[in-house]
């Protein structure tokens, strides 16, 4: 368990002080994948460095696995750091060492024999699926391969925790996916607690169990990933969530006055967001039959978050006023967030929750 208590970190620059982290309190449970998301400059990288004391907090307490980190001697701190692996955006491999030598670096002076080290390195490279590149130098590897080596190196000391500082931010989407898979695998197979720093909501959605949102050095929102996506509270959280869904593209289309969103007087443009596990219900085909409205789906985006479906649909529904009203009422009673973005009768962007219109 990682406990961060009242963490503050202030950097003294030449003529001013910059506070990177303010009053942060977090508890990260064993074996969970915990995400910290924020824009660059939000203080998340500084915060994660407070866990292994690459940055010493100006005030507060850091307790990792029951050990009060700030009270340790330099030697004790080094021992403790061996239990906390870390990977970075820029990989930070040693360029003059081969892949195998890089992975061996943290355990060179650990008392293991040459054979034992070689064995362990092979096992780790097998785990990250890079056995065949053991003799290569980092400059000969792709970004994804470099991060795999960095992960193998971080695992060499058998850590209980892995800190990932923007570990996928320098990688393309396909490679990001494979690295995220690997991180999920080391969490489930090796039981390692993973702390992920990122500015990509997609990473949080695909990998994490719980998440904290940081802004201006503070944690402004914390929740399980599913609940955060389902019920975001802060504006910044909603913005992050919008980046992972194509539903928000509708607003761009309206702004651009696209042909597709030019409505007839008997049409309404609605956004429906599924709140709980009700996506399996054939809602749309039901309302179109029952209330005799036609539903033209423009965007639909349903994803599994923590195994539960989450997402929404943007559609143009067409029908008589009364039928439209009834249809939307029915849908909203099914725990679906309904929002009329544009009303053909009013021919103006209203963007009001259904309840307020009704």
């Amino acid at each position: 368990m990682i406990v961060l208590k009242d963490i503050n970190k202030t950097f003294k620059l030449k003529d001013k002080e910059v506070t990177a982290v303010r009053d942060v309190n977090l508890t990260i449970e064993d074996k969970e994948i915990y995400g910290i998301i924020g824009f660059s400059g939000a203080g998340k990288s500084t915060l994660v460095r407070c866990i292994n004391l690459l940055e010493r907090p100006t005030s507060g307490r850091v307790i990792v696995g029951g050990v009060d980190m700030l009270t340790l001697s330099p030697k004790e701190l080094r021992e403790q750091r061996k239990k906390i692996g870390m990977i970075f955006q820029q990989f930070n491999l040693m360029p003059s060492r081969t892949v195998a030598q890089n992975v061996a670096l943290p355990i060179e002076n650990s008392g293991l024999s040459k054979e034992e080290i070689a064995q362990k390195v092979n096992k780790l490279l097998a785990f990250v699926e890079l056995e065949d590149r053991a003799a290569a130098y980092p400059s000969q590897l792709s970004g994804g391969q470099k991060q795999r080596v960095a992960i193998a190196r971080a695992l060499a000391t058998d850590p209980e925790i892995l800190l990932c500082d923007e570990a996928t931010s320098a990688l393309d989407p396909q490679t990001t996916k494979s690295i995220l898979k690997l991180l999920a695998r080391l969490n489930t197979e090796l039981g390692i607690t993973v702390v992920v720093i990122t500015h990509e909501m997609d990473v949080i959605k695909k990998l994490c169990h719980r998440v904290a949102v940081m802004e201006h050095g503070r944690v402004v929102e914390e929740n399980t990933v599913y609940s955060l996506f389902a019920h975001p509270v802060q504006e910044i959280t909603r913005n992050f969530i919008n980046t992972t869904s194509n539903l928000s593209e509708i607003y761009q289309l309206i702004e651009d006055k696209a042909e597709i969103v030019a409505l007839d007087h008997d049409e309404q443009l609605v956004k429906m967001r599924y709140q709980e596990t009700n996506v399996s219900e054939p809602l749309i085909s039901y309302i179109s039959r029952k209330f005799e409205v036609t539903v033209n789906i423009l965007f639909s985006d349903v994803e599994l978050v923590e195994g539960k479906p989450l997402g929404g649909t943007v559609a143009i529904i067409k029908g008589g006023r009364g039928q439209l009203k009834q249809a939307l009422k029915y849908v909203s009673q099914r725990n679906v967030d309904v929002e009329v973005i544009k009303d053909g009768a009013a021919e103006s962007v209203v963007s009001k929750p259904y309840a307020e219109i009704a």
Partner: protein, 225 residues
């Protein structure tokens, strides 16, 4: 042989002395270079680890070494030679000859080489050092396994550059009777107007410098991955 006699009449008459001068140069460069290499690495590493943000940050230590290096670098070598005469006499017992040249050469080249080492080590990204600290390496391990090991190629280049400068300095030390090729060229070539001696000496020096540069480049390339 005929041709050499024709081209370098004076030089060919003092071949044994010429060979001795070459050997003296190598001895001076070798001994003062060896000492300077060790001292320069130590000072360069100390500068890197004690500077602000370094792994063993000690502002006072950094400032002190920094100022001392700057002071010695601003003294022209020819002045340093005479300035250090009492020290040299005290340590090695003589101020002239190959023996007398070692100490001023060390003082002359160490500040230069320390800076070269510092800049070579600066090439290592802070991220790599951060990674090394995150994996629990001790400061000594960071110095030997990361700083020095990762900068072998730039250190080789710095050493090559420094060795060549050092050969230049030995020639200057020749002016105060240190022996070696510089001394040889000045005594015969310059003072007695035997120009072929000067030319011959320069040719040998050019060859030595080229050889050192060639070896340095090869070694640096071999350590670049």
């Amino acid at each position: 042989m005929e041709l050499l006699n024709l081209l370098f009449p004076n030089l060919m008459q003092k071949l044994p002395e010429f060979y001795q001068a070459i050997i003296d140069t190598f001895v001076m460069v070798g001994i003062s270079g060896g000492i300077s290499f060790v001292l320069g690495i130590i000072l360069g590493v100390t500068l890197i680890v004690t500077k602000s943000g370094g792994i063993l940050e000690r502002r006072e230590v950094y400032q002190f070494i920094d100022k001392v290096i700057n002071t010695f670098r601003s003294i022209p070598f020819i002045i340093l030679l005479t300035l250090l005469l009492p020290v040299t006499r005290m340590v090695v017992g003589t101020g002239i000859g190959v023996k007398g040249a070692i100490i001023p050469l060390v003082f002359g080249i160490v500040p230069f080489f320390s800076r070269q080492v510092e800049s070579a080590l600066t090439e290592i990204g802070t991220g790599v050092i951060e990674a090394a600290q995150a994996m629990g390496l001790s400061p000594w391990e960071v110095i030997f396994k990361v700083y020095l090991r990762e900068s072998i190629a730039p250190l080789v280049r710095a050493t090559t550059l420094t060795t060549i400068s050092l050969i230049g300095l030995t020639a200057m030390a020749g002016a105060v009777g240190a022996g070696g090729l510089g001394d040889f060229a000045i005594r015969y070539g310059h003072n007695r107007f035997q120009e072929d001696v000067t030319v011959g000496t320069v040719i040998v020096l050019v060859a030595i410098v080229c050889l050192i540069q060639f070896l340095g480049n090869r070694l640096a390339a071999k350590n670049t991955h």
